[in-house]
């Protein structure tokens, strides 16, 4: 006699491409890089004179240097994709209805993409000497 173990309803059937392994690796690799980028960012911006020293000239001055442009764009991409992928994980945890899950996840990635495009545009096309009449507010390179 053949013994057949009947299969009770098993709901594990989410289809489609499976990138979970790469998502898991990305969270760790980006996390490790972000530790350097974020703490470097905080130290450079705040260490000496505190938050009061950050003004237009400070930020504009930093972005005249390609080093800080690359630093900030890298931080933008890594952190936004990292944060969005983390939120996607949480959505997958809590969304019970498939359409809710899909809608939230698509919204997350659209917002992430828009922020990445805008942020990259700003950091790479930034004109530090934007208003020649307001010399006092501009970085020293404009004077």
């Amino acid at each position: 006699m053949e013994i057949v173990i009947e299969t009770p309803n098993s709901p594990r059937k989410r289809k489609g491409a499976n990138w979970e392994k790469y998502g898991w690796m990305y969270m760790r690799i980006s996390g490790a890089v972000l530790i350097v980028l974020i703490f470097g960012h905080l130290i450079v911006n705040l260490w000496d004179k505190g938050v009061g020293a950050i003004d237009f000239a400070f930020v504009a001055g930093k972005w005249t240097n390609p080093f800080w442009q690359v630093w900030d764009v890298l931080m933008l991409w890594l952190a936004l994709i990292h944060g969005t992928n983390g939120m996607r994980t949480i959505t997958n945890d809590y969304a019970e209805k498939e359409w809710v899950r899909k809608t939230l996840n698509i919204t997350l990635w659209v917002v992430c993409g828009a922020l990445i495009i805008l942020g990259t545009l700003v950091a790479t096309t930034f004109d530090p000497c934007i208003d020649p009449n307001a010399v006092n507010y501009l970085p020293t390179v404009c004077k």
Binding site: T7, S10, E20
Partner: protein
């Protein structure tokens, strides 16, 4: 020596009053579960299972729960006691905080059928899905020799009694509901790292699923819950590493 001198003085086992709050649910009558309190006199040697027996046998015979061995071997009586998953038969009442009632609920994340009994089918299905049996191509004509070191490699995960304490302590399992869960991964680990088994890649592929090992967020609830002291989170991490390598 006189007879009196050797007569051992047996001290009375200390007894104490305790209130048990049990999460009761009868699907034929109740629309949802409710707490019911029971005042009992218990002894220092009693476990939560003894208290449940006392209720069932002396107070209310309708109380339903699973138990079989009563000695931490069969894995039938995992339940949520004071908010933590434990075996009722391995939890001494005197070790709990007796200044307040003891709360006993069914394990979370599986459908409650009656009182402390849950539907274990989804749990067993995840177990079946990882092929929990030796897969070897040679005929079993003689003993399959294994070195002590090779046996040691997966020793920890052989101790599982499938009580479901780990899986039902996992917040991802509570909310997601489709996640394979720690117990299935522990039992996959038991074969993936067995030198006699030949299907490690098959199981690693199964657990690379969307609802597989990557759902684990390393909260350690499972390790804390396991009544067998299995390093569950560690086993899951080892399986993750094996998936990344593509082999055990």
């Amino acid at each position: 020596m006189s007879a009196e001198a050797t007569t051992p003085v047996i001290a009375e086992v200390p007894s104490f009053a305790v209130t048990l709050m049990v999460r009761r649910y009868n699907p034929e009558v109740d629309s949802e579960p409710k707490w019911q309190d029971y005042d009992l006199t218990m002894y220092g040697t009693d476990r939560v299972l003894d208290a449940l027996h006392k209720i069932k046998w002396e107070v209310d015979g309708s109380l339903s729960f699973r138990r079989s061995c009563a000695h931490g071997v069969c894995g039938s009586d995992a339940m949520r006691i004071n908010g933590r998953n434990r075996l009722a038969c391995k939890t001494l009442i005197k070790d709990l905080d007796l200044s307040q009632p003891i709360y006993v609920e069914p394990i979370k994340g599986l459908e409650v059928e009656k009182d402390l009994i849950v539907d274990m089918n989804p749990f067993y299905q995840a177990y079946r899905d990882i092929k929990p049996f030796l897969i070897a191509s040679d005929k079993p004509e003689k003993e399959r020799i294994q070195s002590a070191a090779d046996r040691e490699r997966f020793d920890d995960t052989t101790k599982c009694i499938l009580c479901a304490a780990c899986t039902t302590s996992c917040p991802v399992f509570w909310t997601d509901g489709q996640y394979f869960g720690p117990a299935a991964i522990v039992n996959a680990h038991r074969f993936i790292f067995d030198s006699r088994d030949e299907a490690a890649e098959v199981r690693l592929d199964i657990l690379n699923d969307k609802e597989g090992v990557w759902r684990c967020r390393t909260t350690f609830n499972c390790t804390e819950a396991c009544p067998r002291g299995i390093q569950v989170t560690r086993a899951i991490a080892e399986v993750k590493q094996a998936v990344l390598r593509g082999r055990a």
